[in-house]
């Protein structure tokens, strides 16, 4: 998506600091699930603004269409019918990239500059640098990125980084008719969420709370949940997401250790050679063989 050049916090597969002269406010999108009516205006606005079109699918006996995130559907609604405290509830969650402070996708990405985290917290894919390996999918704790079947590039919500860069709210927030999607500084969004949580508690949702999981360092897409103690009710929102230890090992400690180990093997060999010299066939053995030949000739 858009290129911003002075306010980069992290860049994939890059070990030196990125340009970060420009400091911007940390932003966040707050999804108030208690005000969401599942109208999918956000899904439509996302396709319109980003000019992508999801294929017309089929009905699988639920309201969830598009049925999953795809390279063209960067945000989808997930509907869950649950019974809580003897009451039926129809929980509707807008799913998409959470824009983690500690993004698993970026950690896993092998291609320099294919994934950028801006100072404002947005984690953005730069598809022109994407090599299509799918490591971001492997790294994501929320199962968000999708690899396009047509161009093999990874796609996901950009939090409308292009709009945010010019002080516009993301298309979904702009289109949301009920104000269930709010956008602003992360601090403001937390304050707003606190008010919503107070209201929900007054309405009997004792466990209402903010979903801003610290396992990924917090997220720049947060939810107000009526049942913050059971995020799993909301179509399997992970209770305590974090970058998988396997991914951390793979793209963490393993990287320098293995590189160093291989370097040591190479250097060890070199030094072995120069210190011990080559392992040559000894003169005696050569002589033995020659002597045998002479003996043989004589016998003949």
């Amino acid at each position: 998506m858009a290129l911003q050049s002075l306010d980069i916090k992290q860049r994939s597969a890059t070990t030196t600091p990125a340009p970060r002269a420009r400091q911007t406010v940390e932003v966040a999108k707050l999804i108030d699930v208690s005000a969401c009516i599942g109208c999918k205006a956000c899904t439509a606005a996302c396709m319109e603004w980003n000019d992508v079109r999801e294929e017309v699918g089929t009905c699988a006996g639920v309201y969830d269409n598009p049925s999953n995130l795809t390279e063209n559907a960067w945000t989808v609604m997930r509907f869950s019918e649950v019974e809580q405290n003897g009451r039926l509830e129809w929980l509707i969650r807008k799913d998409g990239c959470m824009h983690c402070a500690d993004p698993g996708c970026l950690k896993a990405c092998p291609s320099p500059g294919a994934i950028i985290q801006y100072a404002n917290g947005i984690v953005d894919f730069h598809q022109e640098n994407c090599i299509g390996c799918g490591y971001c999918v492997t790294g994501c704790p929320f199962n968000v990125p999708r690899i396009s079947k047509t161009d093999s590039k990874a796609y996901k919500c950009s939090l409308c980084s292009d709009r945010v860069a010019v002080n516009q709210a993301p298309a979904c927030a702009k289109a949301c008719p009920t104000g269930a999607i709010q956008f602003g500084s992360k601090e403001d969004m937390k304050d707003y969420a606190a008010k919503r949580i107070t209201d929900l508690k007054e309405r009997g949702y004792d466990k209402a709370g903010l979903y801003d999981p610290q396992g990924v360092g917090g997220t720049h897409v947060m939810y107000v949940l009526h049942h913050a103690d059971q995020p799993g009710l909301y179509a399997g929102l992970p209770a305590d997401p974090g970058i998988s230890p396997l991914v951390s090992l793979w793209k963490g400690a393993a990287k320098p250790l293995a590189t160093a180990a291989l370097g040591l093997v190479a250097l060890g060999s070199l030094f072995h050679y120069v210190m011990k010299g080559p392992n040559e066939v000894s003169k005696e053995t050569e002589k033995e063989v020659e002597d045998e030949d002479v003996k043989k000739e004589k016998a003949a």
């Binding site: 320099p112 390996c133 093999s152 293995a258 590189t259 093997v265 050679y273 080559p278 066939v281 053995t285």
Partner: protein, 206 residues
């Protein structure tokens, strides 16, 4: 190098071709794989026509290597079974590394170290093949847990294999007169007598 008709045939043409198929594949895999593993190696993707081509080609080369390796494995499996003598050799490997091979036990076509390398490589290739399929997104879509495990195994096995191959290559360079076995297929009798005496005797009847 002058070829002497009395040199001993160590590898036939087919075996050499097989080896180099694995070898070239391995080098390509190592270069492209390292590029995805650590940003420091990312420029290596340029050898493949850029990073996207590197990503596309790597798994196919992997398939080539795995298949060629299977053939090689079947060919040399029997020759690489460890014997008590091999274990005795392995126990004394320090002397060998120090450059003193006078007291090493008598070795057949392969010494204990080579045999252990053979099995370690076989294990690495097996792990790489299975984990490689797990993370090959162009064709497969496994559960993310399996994929993550696969990614770690693939990276680990690859690092181990690269290390082993470095040892393998160095051993060939260090032990003079070795590499020609994989070029022309022959070694000198003296080379054989010094490094693989039992094999030498077997070949010469002495």
């Amino acid at each position: 190098m002058i070829r002497d008709p009395k040199d001993l045939q160590r590898y036939n043409a087919s075996e050499r071709a097989n080896h180099w198929t694995v070898g070239i594949s391995f080098i390509l895999l190592a270069l492209s794989g390292l590029a995805f593993f650590h940003p420091a190696f990312f420029p290596l993707t340029q050898f493949f026509g850029g990073p996207v081509w590197a990503r596309i080609l790597h798994p196919y080369i992997g398939v080539v290597m795995a298949l060629a390796f299977v053939v090689m494995f079947l060919r040399f499996k029997a020759l690489n079974e460890m014997t008590p003598t091999d274990w005795a050799w392995v126990k004394q490997v320090r002397q060998m590394v120090d450059g003193d091979d006078h007291n090493m036990p008598e070795q057949g076509k392969y010494n204990g170290g080579q045999k252990l390398l053979f099995w370690a490589l076989a294990a690495s290739v097996l792990l790489l093949a299975v984990s490689g399929i797990a993370i090959w997104r162009a064709w497969f879509d496994f559960g993310v847990g399996f994929v993550r495990f696969g990614a770690v195994v693939h990276a680990g096995a690859a690092a181990v294999m690269i290390g082993l191959i470095m040892v393998h290559i160095y051993a060939a360079i260090w032990t003079k007169g070795t590499i020609r076995a994989m070029w022309y297929g022959t070694v000198t009798r003296a080379w054989a007598k010094q490094h693989h005496r039992a094999w030498y005797r077997q070949m010469t009847g002495k």
